[in-house]
Symmetry: C2
Subunit: 465 residues, 2 copies
């Protein structure tokens, strides 16, 4: 049974009802037919901690182990605090090494220590070994459970090796072939093993051109690599090509989703990854307010720019009317050009060396956009504005002059915004700062300040004020 | 050989040099050791069409078929126009049905027709069948090459079936089990086939709880489904569970990347998907200018709002100074709150029914942010502004009053922007418009207009102007 069209809410209510009534047999019957991911969805939605605990304790240890990994982080944190240490230990024993490591890393320190002491020695060693790698590297996402055979082995021996590991590893896609020093020399697909005669040496049927990744490779690069070469199971090696572990495609999918979410959030000016369910308001504020303060300070710099031209503004207060148009265009153009660069950098389709080509293209685009939009603004100003007659200051501004000011300013602003939007992410990437950070508030804010300056400078020059 | 650290530029120059010199043997030697993805990267970077063609024609048909799929769309379009029909046909014959379909769909109509007429009958039928499905559904991304056996078959018979399809299907992860009416009843992992005795009926070792997707399911939903249940190969079925095809994980990865890119671009106000290499400036403008015009028109509405308060502005021109701060905060807050909703909707972690809960949380966040940021703006105004003395209009504004105006306006603007940013994407999703469209220009622009109105209204009320 998969929950697809069924309303998760209704299902959750039924579960809550049965839990309240203590209908243990009925609940167990339901749980047995459900996929761990669906059980996790229900547990996420159950509102009371004790109900969650009751339901979770009805699972056998294998289902419990699969389910807990799929529960939302915030819910999981509450749940593990309530679980008995003994059950936690059993759950970890069931997990593959990469999951066990992530899971234990999330536990409060005292619980983590207890669990590590009570799990099987081998599992504890694996976790300790994996914890030495940085979380966002190949080493941080790899699992140690692999099927590997010596290059002198036969197909039958490879199959025996699979049999030995079958219990421990849920899905096996590839058997790795190593030399006597455990260096990776080839790989066998399951298809080739099924089709080959048992006595055949694996060396005769293995692929020798194996795509492996270094243990320190950034997880984002691992994802590109997997996607570029269509890999389902990627061997992880050290400097000397010793086989250390493997990364499977489901972990790669998680990386891709994670990085996409991160880029999107950073573009929107959210610095910490924000959880979607149950984060406290203060935690959300903590992730969001830094860029808001940054934006506000940027706005105050904008205020300073206007203050600089206060004399002109007091003579022609109508200049204020076009501030929103000028600002929003600077921001939008900056967003568009930088989003393309950020995306291209993320997928490695653009690199720093392309800067002149990109810039040239972007300036052409900005020129076309600038002329078109500048003309719209010009026409609007000419049609909608009356002759500005500030008797107090003896200035008279004709709508045509005003149109010239706003049209020309907009063109200039758009050219500059396109330039800034293109170069800033490339430069940031160059100095190894995440370019996604630049796209949102940073570029919008700096474009605002520049745009205001251009606008008032052009107005001062053309209107002689 | 994989190109990883090697500079792609240098490699491309070497290739261009050898092509110019006509060193065919040397080029072929190089090509043989390279992965199709890397060959494609080089071809993407080669600048002259005739060089690309020369190099591509050196590939054997299998490598050519793998390579052409990895070449950038714009480059591929140029290349296929130059290729002989005969070679195109050979290339298509080598492809799996899903790739062949996408490839032929991209060809100019006359070439597509020619190719479809000359490829093997079976391939042509497959392509015609697949073309009937919408591109962004499970049917649009599935392949027809599957290994399936009847539920009464033995393990040995399943292996014979694999042997029969081994040539045609590059990677086999799963053997599907069907009943006499070709309805999906189970699946076999390669591991289980390797480990089982040959005479055993597959019905005894198959998994019966198979996760399948309907042929009309949206590809984004297929991706969520695959990720939720950690699937590597997904069977596609019709209403009656007849097995139609399968989707493999590499296609899912493409969907995930595609959708993430689309969300990011839409958020930045780019309506067509923008290619990263070689699009013409006019094509880029076409994708970007609609939202820019939208934004400009929004800015003009902002101008109208200010015009509405022209009397007040002429009395207290200094009000213009705070327009940038107020506007940028409205925009930033709107971006942050909507980005979270858009992301949550994309990954199905949020749905419309959560609207009240999300709204309540968002208003709490906005309240905290609004009070903090409003106080900053208040303090700035009190410190930096002098007493505004407009003798012409007999108004005197104390910095404290001005501080009150801007602080209170900002708080109100932030509350409203949080509300708009949360509700608009949820409502759009409700009426089946892509909420990512809303996040960028739409919310920023409407927040601008609302913010200006709030600011000038608060100023009018507090300053009695």
């Amino acid at each position: 049974m998969r929950i697809e069209e069924i309303d998760l809410r209704e299902l959750t209510s039924s579960f809550e009802f049965f839990i309240k009534e203590g209908q243990k047999a009925r609940l167990q019957h339901l749980l047995i037919s459900m996929h761990p991911s669906d059980i996790a969805s229900v547990i996420n939605r159950i509102s009371k901690d004790e109900y969650r605990l009751y339901l979770f304790n009805l699972l056998d240890k294998e289902a419990a182990s699969d389910t807990i990994l799929k529960i939302d982080e915030a819910v999981r944190e509450d749940l593990v605090e309530l679980l008995e240490r003994e059950i936690l230990t059993e759950i970890v024993d069931e997990m593959e090494s990469d999951d066990a490591t992530d899971f234990i890393a999330e536990l409060p320190d005292d619980i983590a220590k207890d669990v590590l002491e009570s799990v099987e020695q081998e599992d504890a060693d694996d976790v300790k070994q994996l914890m030495q790698h940085r979380e966002d590297t190949a080493g941080g996402i790899m699992a140690l459970e692999i099927v590997s055979v010596n290059k002198d082995a036969t197909v039958d021996e490879a199959i025996m090796e699979i049999r030995k590991k079958a219990e421990e590893i849920e899905e096996i896609y590839t058997v790795f072939v190593v030399d006597n020093e455990n260096k990776l020399v080839g790989q066998l697909s399951m298809k080739s093993l099924i089709l080959a005669r048992g006595q055949k040496p694996v060396a005769e049927i293995m692929e020798r051109d194996v795509a492996s990744v270094h243990v320190n490779m950034d997880q984002e690069d691992v994802a590109h690599y997997a996607r570029k070469y269509d890999l389902v199971s990627i061997p992880v090696v050290d400097d000397e090509y010793h086989l250390l572990g493997r990364i499977t495609i489901d972990d790669i999918m998680d990386v891709v989703e994670e990085e996409a979410a991160e880029d999107l959030q950073r573009m929107a000016g959210i610095s910490d990854e924000e959880e979607l369910r149950e984060p406290s308001a203060f935690r959300i504020v903590r992730g969001r307010i830094p860029w808001l303060i940054f934006g506000l300070v940027g706005g105050l710099w904008g205020a300073e720019v206007i203050k600089l031209f206060e004399g002109q503004l007091s003579k022609v207060h109508i200049l204020a009317i076009f501030i929103p148009s000028i600002l929003s265009m600077g921001g939008n153009i900056g967003m568009q050009s930088s989003a393309i660069i950020v995306r291209g950098l993320a997928t490695s389709e653009i690199d720093f060396k392309d800067i002149y080509k990109r810039l040239f293209k972007e300036l052409k685009v900005s020129l076309i956009n600038g002329i078109a939009l500048g003309m719209i603004l010009f026409v609007y100003a000419v049609i909608r504005m009356d002759v500005q007659n500030s008797t107090a200051h003896k200035v008279m501004i004709h709508p045509l002059e005003l149109g010239m000011v706003v049209g020309l300013s907009l063109l200039t602003v758009i050219l500059v915004a396109g330039f800034v939007g293109t170069t800033v992410p490339l430069l940031l990437k160059r100095i190894k700062i995440d370019p996604a950070l630049a796209t949102g508030p940073f570029i919008t804010t700096s474009n605002d300040i520049i745009a205001l300056f251009i606008y008032f400078a052009v107005a001062t020059l053309i209107l002689h004020i």
